[in-house]
């Protein structure tokens, strides 16, 4: 049996960075306050002391520069892991993400490839204002050429981050900050990969498939447990990577149940719930017994704290939504 440590999600991220930096000199971290300070969320704590300022680089406050420099390093064969302090601060570098990070490979007709991983804490639930709370995974999933990974457990955080860093293609790695320290989990000390693009079934059930990811996995599981007491069994699928989507897992879970709900904290319109629903329509229409229920944030900028519990899908909202789909027609 391998040795494990009991880590929070953010500690597992740090452990993943440490593991890959130890194994591969080409892995470097860069961003604001990531060096001496160890990152505002402590995701890079101790890395500066271990690997030095040449590999854990404190940058000027300029996201376009940070992400663009990572693009250049990656094109030269390094494996940079730039950090943005919050996902809401990625936008000054958005041009580098969509114009370069995602397209260098296609544009150069595969002659350049970008093994880089752009990390950022994302999502709501900490009572902070909009750009500290929003979920914009759909922006990045919409951009061909990017993989978008969102772990929901410490185990996955380390394993998926290692996969992302080793991946020859660029990955946007979004870390649900609400659950950075919400709970601990067993994380192997050794290195291991959790493959990108593979969903995982968190709970088995025959009545309805519920698809979710990131911080929403918790209220979804909570709802599933309480629905089970009423005799409704949910199959909860944590997609883990929203691009590429594990369409096989989606179709399989749906064919098993004939009903589905999607839970995400991002706004509903144009959110990934729509993509999942469309996948079901295209691939499994004849199994469908009810409209797919989307339980999501609303089409508004993320509101401040008194309205946050209203905005974010709660276990109660998931329960109600699931019942609607299960009781249809």
């Amino acid at each position: 049996m391998t040795e494990t440590q009991n880590l929070t999600l953010v500690q597992a991220v740090r452990d993943g960075l440490f593991t890959e930096m130890s194994a591969d000199e080409d892995v470097v971290v860069l961003g604001e306050d990531v060096g001496k300070n160890g990152g505002v969320f402590r995701a890079t704590e101790g890395l500066y002391d271990e690997f030095g300022g040449d590999r854990v680089i404190d940058t000027p406050l300029a996201e376009s520069g940070i992400i663009g420099a990572a693009v250049g390093m990656a094109a030269m064969g390094m494996r940079p892991v730039p950090e943005c302090q919050f996902s809401g601060f990625m936008y000054p570098g958005f041009d580098q993400i969509v114009s370069h990070m995602s397209r260098f490979r296609t544009r150069s007709r595969s002659r350049f490839t970008l093994p880089m991983t752009l990390r950022a804490p994302y999502g709501g639930g900490i009572r902070a204002p909009e750009h500290h709370s929003e979920s914009k995974e759909a922006f990045y999933a919409h951009e061909a050429g990017l993989k978008v990974a969102i772990p929901s457990t410490p185990y996955d955080a380390k394993g998926m981050l290692i996969s992302a860093i080793r991946d020859p293609d660029p990955v946007v790695f979004l870390e649900p900050k609400l659950i950075y320290r919400a709970f601990r989990g067993e994380v192997p000390e050794e290195d291991y990969e959790v493959p990108l693009g593979e969903a995982i079934t968190r709970r088995e059930g025959d009545d309805i498939a519920v698809f979710t990811w990131g911080a929403m996995t918790r209220p979804t599981m909570e709802a599933a447990e309480s629905l089970a007491e009423e005799g409704i069994e949910c199959e909860v699928v944590d997609l883990r990577t929203v691009s590429p989507l594990d369409r096989e897992a989606i179709v399989e879970a749906f064919e098993k149940t004939g009903r589905a709900a999607v839970v995400h904290e991002a706004p509903k319109s144009g959110g990934l719930g729509a993509e999942i629903t469309a996948t079901i329509q295209e691939e499994a229409l004849l199994y469908q017994e009810a409209p797919v229920k989307r339980i999501t944030g609303f089409d508004v900028p993320f509101p401040l704290y008194a309205l946050e519990d209203y905005y974010l899908p709660s276990a109660a909202r998931v329960e109600a939504g699931v019942k609607e789909a299960v009781n249809f027609p």
Binding site: D33, L61, F89, P129, H132, A316, R317
Partner: protein, 348 residues
């Protein structure tokens, strides 16, 4: 020499701003200790306070009129106070209450007040392009309004700032960019992110006047800003003004500041622009009784704003759906709000 009445006004605003931050710090920390919990207490979320930076805001804004535009960054309270933003409604916003400037949906980095043309951006340096735009609007309409963008010294490496300098220069815009140099950008001292110690030198490359006020002194700022704002008002183009200030507190409340030496913190505390101005006022014949009176007035104003704010209701859940469009889309929308289901009444 700056008139004594003006010095008194500067002093009153500075002590108000200082007192305000000290009281917000107390309110903010309530319930968040011992293990720092950002989501607890009467002011959840993060809070960037500006104690030690009053001289910049007050020295500049005392040249401004309500019709002049100011954009402030993530650390906006002292600027808002100096610009004359309604203190009660601003405080209600910080406490997330319905009667706040932004209906309690924006928080302390998102203070907007069209009554005095005040706006914020939590995204560093991104208030600069809109300030240039406000200046362009004034110029196009032949009004004598000016615009001022505030930002930190860490933010001057952002494209948005440098783009704005060039835009303002080539179009001779009536705008002033004010860099508050508090030596730190969260954990990063200036020398780790730039080789140019004097940020006002950024102006040289855009053929724009660049001025640095090296001492944390409201009067010196007032004088330098007088020229800069006057230049803008007289349609003689933009200025970049950098002001040395000091960060007396953490970057955000709850910041353990492990990256900062005690000596640095003590030095920042020792160079207090309020004490400096007090000395000057005394030298010019103002007695302690009068200074006390100003301080007491400031305290009363701050206390009134805070207690008023805390009595205000939280926003109702439905407010989350408001204010997105002038003409909201009709027909099937994203949600049929079910407030009961959400398990929240605004006042929870």
């Amino acid at each position: 020499m700056v008139a004594l009445t003006k010095l008194r006004e500067l002093y009153a605003d500075m002590v108000t701003a200082r007192r305000y931050e000290e009281r917000l710090q107390e309110e903010y920390l309530e319930g968040k200790q011992p293990a720092f919990d950002i989501s607890a207490g009467p002011i959840p979320g993060e809070l960037h306070l500006a104690a030690g930076q009053e001289a910049a805001a007050v020295g500049v804004c005392h040249h401004l009129r309500p019709s002049d535009t100011v954009t402030a960054p993530h650390r906006p309270h002292h600027v808002a106070i100096a610009k004359g933003v309604d203190l009660k409604r601003m405080t209600a916003e910080i406490f997330g209450r319905e009667t706040g400037l932004g209906k309690g949906k924006g928080g302390h980095m998102h203070l907007f007040d069209p009554d005095v043309n005040f706006a914020c951006s939590g995204i560093i340096a991104q208030g600069c392009p809109p300030a240039a735009g406000a200046a362009l609007a004034a110029k196009k309409r032949n009004e004598d309004a000016v615009a001022v963008a505030f930002l930190g010294e860490g933010a001057i490496d952002q494209g948005g700032f440098l783009e704005s300098l060039n835009f303002a220069s080539v179009h001779d815009l009536p705008v002033v960019f004010v860099v508050e140099d508090n030596d730190w950008a969260i954990s990063m001292p200036k020398e780790r992110v730039t080789d140019v110690e004097d940020g006002s030198k950024r102006a040289d490359g855009f053929d724009m006047p660049g001025v640095r006020v090296d001492v944390d002194d409201a009067v010196a700022v007032y004088e330098a800003a007088g020229e800069a704002v006057g230049r803008a008002r007289d349609r003689n183009g933009p200025t970049l003004l950098e002001v040395q200030v000091h960060r007396r507190m953490g970057h955000f409340m709850g910041d353990p500041q492990t990256y900062r030496s005690d000596a640095d913190e003590e030095a920042a505390l020792a160079r207090d622009s309020i004490e400096r101005l007090e000395r000057e006022l005394r030298d010019r014949g103002v007695d302690d009784a009068e200074l006390n009176e100003v301080r007491e007035d400031a305290e009363t104003r701050v206390e009134e704003a805070i207690s008023w704010a805390k009595e205000q209701p939280h926003p109702e859940p439905g407010a989350a759906h408001e204010d997105v469009f002038v003409n909201p889309p009709s027909g099937v929308t994203d949600s049929e709000p079910d407030f009961e289901l959400a398990g929240v009444s605004g006042d929870e």
